[in-house]
Symmetry: C2
């Protein structure tokens, strides 16, 4: 691996030059996914800098999400996460009729073993943005279903659903196991036939809690998708707030040109 030298005349500070050397070694393919970077000790020797300077170079690459540090082992070029494509028909009725909730249908297609944990069910007053989307009055309470999805035991997504109690009360939606086809199948059984969904998509850096639950290393943003489900009467019956590791997902949407 070719590392080059620090040019003290160069305007860029040494730590940035070191980071650039490592970056270009990755771009040239001399350092590929899974490879170990030179250790901090090796970098300080090679460049004749203090350890903190070498660390700062590595810190840059970490916040860019290009490398991951493992305590006691070394710093490694990040493995590209296998990408999951979420097609725009993922909530099609045919899947519900086949007894598959959306997540199970996807996992099936991707050939991974799906599971769900950290299920929490609660009755509470919703946050303001959820209340607006559900068109509820100020003090109205909702059913809250929060859970974490895993594929082959690796956390994939955390999701929280909010449903008006008038809709959810007395249904399996308030049980840990909602039965075949998931929440949406139960909604349709109780007369709320679904018409369409509106998804609002944005991205940001995760909170400390999200980093923990999704087991995210540094420098990985999350995609936030807030989905509102409307029944054929135009009534919003569910708001689902999902947070996923961004680089692992591509969301696909179809838009008519009208």
């Amino acid at each position: 691996m070719q590392l080059g030298e620090i040019d003290r005349q160069d305007g860029r500070p040494p730590y940035r030059q070191i980071a650039d050397h490592l970056r270009s070694a990755m771009d040239r393919g001399e350092l590929t996914a899974g490879d170990k970077l030179p250790s901090e000790a090796e970098l300080t020797r090679h460049y004749s800098v203090a350890r903190m300077t070498a660390r700062q170079a590595i810190q840059e690459l970490r916040t860019e999400g290009r490398v991951v540090a493992e305590h006691g082992r070394g710093v490694f070029v990040r493995m590209p996460a296998p990408v999951r494509r979420l097609a725009s028909d993922r909530f099609a009725r045919k899947h519900r009729e086949a007894g598959q909730a959306a997540f199970l249908a996807e996992a099936d297609k991707a050939g991974v073993r799906p599971s769900v944990d950290q299920i929490e069910i609660d009755r509470a007053t919703p946050p303001a943005d959820v209340r607006e989307r559900l068109r509820l009055s100020d003090d109205e309470r909702v059913a809250v279903r929060s859970r974490r999805y895993l594929a082959d035991d690796r956390p994939i997504e955390v999701a929280t659903s909010f449903l008006p109690l008038t809709v959810a009360e007395g249904t399996p939606i308030l049980e840990a196991n909602t039965g075949p086809g998931g929440i949406y199948a139960r909604l349709e059984e109780t007369g709320h036939v679904l018409d369409h969904f509106v998804e609002e998509v944005t991205a940001r850096m995760p909170t400390a809690d999200e980093r923990r639950r999704l087991e995210l290393p540094d420098g990985v943003p999350v995609l936030v998708v807030v989905r509102t489900a409307y029944d054929t009467a135009g009534v919003p019956v569910e708001v689902c707030d999902t947070v996923k590791a961004a680089p692992a997902y591509v969301l696909e949407y179809d838009i008519p040109a009208r």
Copy 2:
């Protein structure tokens, strides 16, 4: 502002405790958007730690995107970027017929002054993923239009369009100014009436070049939207690759339940 003290018995390292104190001051509203954090000197005095320890606490908040450091001035709680909502009808024909390209229609609605710069037009062989989306043969060349969008002179988005030369050649699409209604209006004039778009959405940390062009501070991810336009014959006529500062956008999509 209430800062608390470091508990040396606490399992968390001091720098993390300091970061948590500052975070919770923000959460409690004692430190709100635009406020200046205590300086490094104040933190080292208050907590009796070395300066690097105080810096590390601030570094945490920076990579989380919650604060921004300004050399010589201080560290400030990040101003929430004014959010632009991109509605699912943003490519409706009615806008093109009114002579407005999608970006101008949005800017109009948001009440900001739109502009476009860094326009570059080229003929080249496209990257592999674009070639696949446009269903081109290996050596086929495309028109490449790259530009940067600004609102009130602040960079908002960088975009690159790829169109088969068979579609673009001899049209204003290869000129700097594409005329009223933009690329899509020109496509429809030349017989490619648009039927629908497919958008693929993901997010990641920006490259160094994107950070520069979008003038992004540390800790801000980007949303990447790749849109493919299909005409009524089902032929893909354009691929447009856009990169935006993520927290400044909410993308909205309507999905039929079918």
